[in-house]
C-alpha cells in the first residue's frame, strides 16, 4: 500500500493519494467499521462471519454442529448466530428515525451499559426519544414521499395543488398516533401543512382549484396524488393505490377456479364477462376481454371496478363535473363508465367488497387486512433497509411480521407504535 502513495503536491486536489491506496484502506477499515470487538459477532477474527446457511455452530465460530433436521431448525440456527449490537443498532435507528447520526453522548449512553440488558434499556429509551423528536416528523414526511413517489419540487405552480400534502398527511397520522385507516377514510383536513420550526401539523382542506367540491377520503382525494398519477382511463391512479397500499401488483386477487381462455388462463375473481369488451360490446373502445396476447381481464376485472370513480379528476388533481381522462384510441375520447363496465355492473374494491364511491372505497381499503399487513411490512423493510416491497421484490414471509400485524390491529392501527416495536425488535438490534 505504501508504495502506491504519491508525493503530495499543493496543486493537486485529492490526488495526493491514489485510489489504490484508499481502496486498500477502505477495505481494511471496512472490515473494522462493520465490526466491533468483544462479543460482536462481526469482529475481526471473531465468529459470525460464516455465511448464513453454512450451519455455523451455536456460537457462530464455525464449530462443527449437527446439520439442522428441518428448515425451521435451520432458520433458528442461522438467526441464533446473530448477536445484539446496540451501538450499531443505535446508529442505523438514528439515521432512519431522524436522518442523522447519534451524538457522541448518546453513543456513550449505550456504551456505559454494564451488560446487554442495560444497553437494551438505554437503547430503547433512545428509540422512544428519537421517535418523539421533531426530526422524526421530517423523516416520516420523507418516508411517505418516497413511498408515494410524490413530492413538491420547487414552488407550487399557479392553478396546481401541492404535491407535499399527501406525504404530510400520512406523516401526521403516524406522528400523532392516529389510526392508519384515517389515511383512507378521513373526511376533513386531509391536506395539512407542517411547520418544521414548531414541529406542528396544521390540518387543512385540500385545494379544489378551479374544480367542484367533492367527497374527501384521506389521500384518495388528495389533488397532489391524483395529479401525480394522472393518466389514460385513470388506471395509473388505481395502480398507485394497489401497489402502495396492498403491496402487490395487479392482478389483485385470483379465483380459486382458474379457467383456460384464449392463449392463457383467466384467473380473475369476478366473471370474465363482467367488464367491457368485444364479447358484450362489439364497439368497445378497449377490448378488456382480449385474450390474444395476455388475458387482459385478469387485472381489469378489478381495475375497471375502481378506475371509473377517478375519471372526473383532471390533470391537476381537481374534481370536475365531467370526465377528464381519455381513452387511448384514435381521437382520444373522454372515458365513460361504459368503457370499463357494462350497465348494471357495480364498483368494488375486491370480490365480495362492493363500493359505491370513493369514500366507501376508502372504507373498504381501510378494512382490508392485507392493507394493514402492507403498512407493517413497508415499515419493516424501511427499518431493515430492504428496499421497496413491490419494486424491489422485497417480500416478507407472513411468519416474520405476523406478531406485529396482530399488534397493529389491537393497537388501533397506530403505526408509530409499530415503528417503535420494529426498531426495538430482536431482529433489528442483532447483526
Amino acid at each position: 500500500m505504501r508504495g502506491t502513495l504519491r508525493t503530495p503536491s499543493r496543486l493537486s486536489v485529492s490526488v495526493t493519494w491514489t485510489l489504490a491506496a484508499c481502496g486498500l484502506m477502505v477495505g481494511s477499515l471496512a472490515s473494522t467499521a462493520c465490526g466491533s470487538s468483544g462479543d460482536d459477532p462481526n469482529a475481526i477474527g471473531g465468529g459470525g462471519t460464516t455465511a448464513p446457511g453454512t450451519n455455523p455452530g451455536p456460537t457462530g465460530t464455525g464449530t462443527a454442529a449437527a446439520p439442522p433436521a428441518t428448515p425451521a431448525e435451520q432458520v433458528k440456527q442461522i438467526l441464533d448466530a446473530r448477536k445484539a449490537d446496540y451501538g450499531e443498532a443505535l446508529r442505523t435507528a438514528s439515521l432512519k428515525l431522524r436522518d442523522s447520526l447519534p451524538t457522541l453522548a448518546e453513543i456513550k449512553t449505550i456504551e456505559a451499559g454494564a451488560d446487554d440488558a442495560a444497553k437494551k434499556v438505554a437503547y430503547e429509551k433512545l428509540v422512544d426519544d428519537m421517535s418523539a423528536s421533531p426530526e422524526f416528523s421530517k423523516s416520516m414526511i420523507k418516508f411517505w414521499k418516497d413511498t408515494f413517489r410524490t413530492g413538491q419540487v420547487g414552488n407550487v405552480q399557479m392553478g396546481a395543488a401541492s404535491r407535499d400534502t399527501a406525504a404530510t398527511f400520512a406523516a401526521q397520522i403516524v406522528v400523532e398516533g392516529q389510526p392508519y385507516s384515517n389515511l383512507f377514510t378521513a373526511a376533513a383536513n386531509t391536506c395539512p401543512t407542517y411547520d418544521p420550526m414548531a414541529n406542528t401539523f396544521t390540518g387543512a382542506a385540500c385545494d379544489t382549484g378551479g374544480g367542484t367540491a367533492g367527497p374527501t377520503a384521506g389521500i384518495l382525494t388528495d389533488p397532489g396524488i391524483l395529479s401525480q398519477y394522472f393518466a389514460n382511463m385513470a388506471f395509473r391512479r388505481v395502480r398507485f393505490i394497489q401497489e402502495t397500499f396492498a403491496c402487490q401488483k395487479f392482478p389483485a386477487e385470483t379465483s380459486a377456479t382458474p379457467k383456460p381462455l384464449g392463449n392463457g388462463t383467466f384467473t380473475g375473481a369476478f366473471p370474465y364477462e363482467s367488464i367491457t369488451g368485444k364479447v358484450n360490446k362489439p364497439d368497445a373502445l378497449i377490448d378488456f376481454q382480449d385474450t390474444s396476447a395476455v388475458i387482459c381481464a385478469n387485472c381489469h376485472v378489478n381495475l375497471n371496478r375502481i378506475a371509473p370513480m377517478f375519471i372526473n379528476y383532471d390533470d391537476t388533481g381537481f374534481l370536475q363535473a365531467t370526465g377528464q381522462v381519455q381513452v387511448p384510441v384514435p381521437k382520444n375520447p373522454i372515458a365513460q363508465r361504459i368503457d370499463y363496465l357494462p350497465a348494471g355492473e357495480g364498483f368494488a374494491w375486491r370480490s365480495g367488497k362492493p363500493v359505491t364511491d370513493i369514500p366507501s372505497l376508502g372504507a373498504a381499503i381501510a378494512a382490508d387486512p392485507e392493507v394493514a399487513r402492507c403498512a407493517v411490512n413497508r415499515v419493516w423493510n424501511y427499518a431493515l433497509s430492504r428496499g421497496d416491497i413491490v419494486n424491489d421484490l422485497a417480500t416478507i414471509p407472513n411468519a416474520v411480521t405476523d406478531p406485529l400485524v396482530k399488534d397493529f390491529g389491537t393497537n388501533k392501527q397506530n403505526l408509530k407504535e409499530t415503528i417503535r416495536a420494529i426498531f426495538k425488535s430482536e431482529d433489528f438490534v442483532k447483526f
Binding site: 502513495l5 503530495p8 499543493r10 496543486l11 486536489v13 495526493t16 493519494w17 491506496a21 484508499c22 484502506m25 477502505v26 481494511s28 477499515l29 473494522t32 467499521a33 462493520c34 465490526g35 470487538s37 469482529a43 448464513p52 446457511g53 453454512t54 432458520v75 442461522i78 438467526l79 443505535l90 446508529r91 439515521l95 432512519k96 436522518d99 447520526l101 447519534p102 457522541l104 453513543i107 456504551e111 420523507k142 418516497d146 413517489r149 413530492g151 404535491r163 401525480q228 385470483t254 388462463t265 390474444s292 396476447a293 395476455v294 388475458i295 387482459c296 387485472c299 387511448p328 384510441v329 431493515l384 433497509s385 430492504r386 421497496d388 421484490l393 417480500t395 416478507i396 411468519a399 433489528f428
Partner: protein, 235 residues
C-alpha cells in the same frame, strides 16, 4: 481444429438467426402476433398509445412469487432468514448532509488551493442525482441502495471532508469537547466514534494510526476518508 469449426458454425447460426427478416432494418413490433399493424397487437403505434407489456410472465397469475433457488437459499438463507437480516441500504442524501454538519465537516479545513470542500461537493447541483436522490416529478423515490456513482460521490465528499477533520480548529456540534487527533498526533477513540456514529474499537484506532505512521503528511486524511467511507457504506 474441430473446435474452431464448431465455433464458426455456431457464430454463423446466430448471425443467420438474427437476420430472419431479410434485409429489413425494422424492429419487430412486439404485438401479439404481427407487430404494430396487428389489430390484436398490444403494442402502441402512431395511431394509439394503447401499449401493454407482452411479456406473458408480466401479468401471469402468481408472477410475483418466485420460489428461491435451493442453491440461493444455501448461500444467502431462506426468505425468512433474509427478511430478518439487515440489508445494506444507501445513506440518504439528507443523512450525508447531516453528517457533514453535525461532525464539523463544513469546509473549515485548509485545503489545496481551488479545491472544493466536502460540503461544497455535497451542495453542488450534480450531487443529489449522483447520490441517488429522489426525482419526484419522475415518480422516482430516493434510491434504497447505493449505485456505483453514489459510492464514488460519497467517497469524493468524504475525501475532501477529511481536510476539515484534521484541522486544528475542528469542532463537531454533535461531539462537543472531542478532538479527532490528540496532542500526540494520534487519533482519539472518541474522535473516531464521533465520525462513525458508533463505538470505535481498538482495531479502528490501530488501523487509523497506522496510516499516520506510514504517511505523516496525509495519513490522517487518508484514514479519515477511508473510515468515513467504510463506516457509512450502509445506512
Amino acid at each position: 481444429m474441430k473446435r474452431i469449426a464448431l465455433t464458426l458454425i455456431g457464430v454463423a447460426a446466430i448471425a443467420l438467426g438474427a437476420c430472419t427478416n431479410g434485409t429489413s432494418d425494422q424492429l419487430n413490433g412486439g404485438g401479439g402476433t404481427g407487430g404494430a399493424g396487428d389489430p390484436n397487437g398490444t403494442a402502441g403505434n402512431e395511431n394509439t398509445t394503447y401499449d401493454h407489456s407482452n411479456d406473458p410472465g408480466g401479468a401471469a397469475p402468481g408472477a410475483d412469487f418466485q420460489p428461491a433457488e435451493p442453491a440461493q437459499v444455501r448461500l444467502v438463507g431462506s426468505p425468512e432468514v433474509t427478511s430478518r437480516l439487515h440489508s445494506c441500504g444507501k445513506m440518504s442524501v439528507a443523512s450525508i448532509g447531516s453528517i457533514l454538519t453535525t461532525r464539523g465537516l463544513t469546509g473549515g479545513g485548509a485545503k489545496p488551493m481551488g479545491a472544493l470542500s466536502g460540503q461544497q461537493i455535497y451542495m453542488a447541483n450534480s450531487a443529489a442525482p449522483a447520490l441517488g436522490g429522489a426525482n419526484y416529478n419522475g415518480r422516482v423515490p430516493e434510491a434504497p441502495f447505493a449505485s456505483t456513482s453514489a459510492m464514488a460521490k460519497m467517497f469524493d465528499i468524504f475525501t475532501m471532508a477529511s481536510y476539515d477533520a484534521v484541522g486544528a480548529n475542528w469542532t463537531a456540534p454533535a461531539c462537543p469537547g472531542t478532538t479527532i487527533l490528540g496532542a500526540d498526533g494520534k487519533f482519539t477513540k472518541d474522535g473516531l466514534t464521533c465520525l462513525m456514529g458508533k463505538p470505535a474499537h481498538d482495531e479502528h484506532l490501530a488501523l487509523a494510526n497506522d496510516a499516520i505512521t506510514k504517511n505523516s503528511t496525509d495519513g490522517a486524511k487518508i484514514a479519515i476518508a477511508a473510515l468515513l467511507s467504510a463506516a457509512h457504506t450502509c445506512q
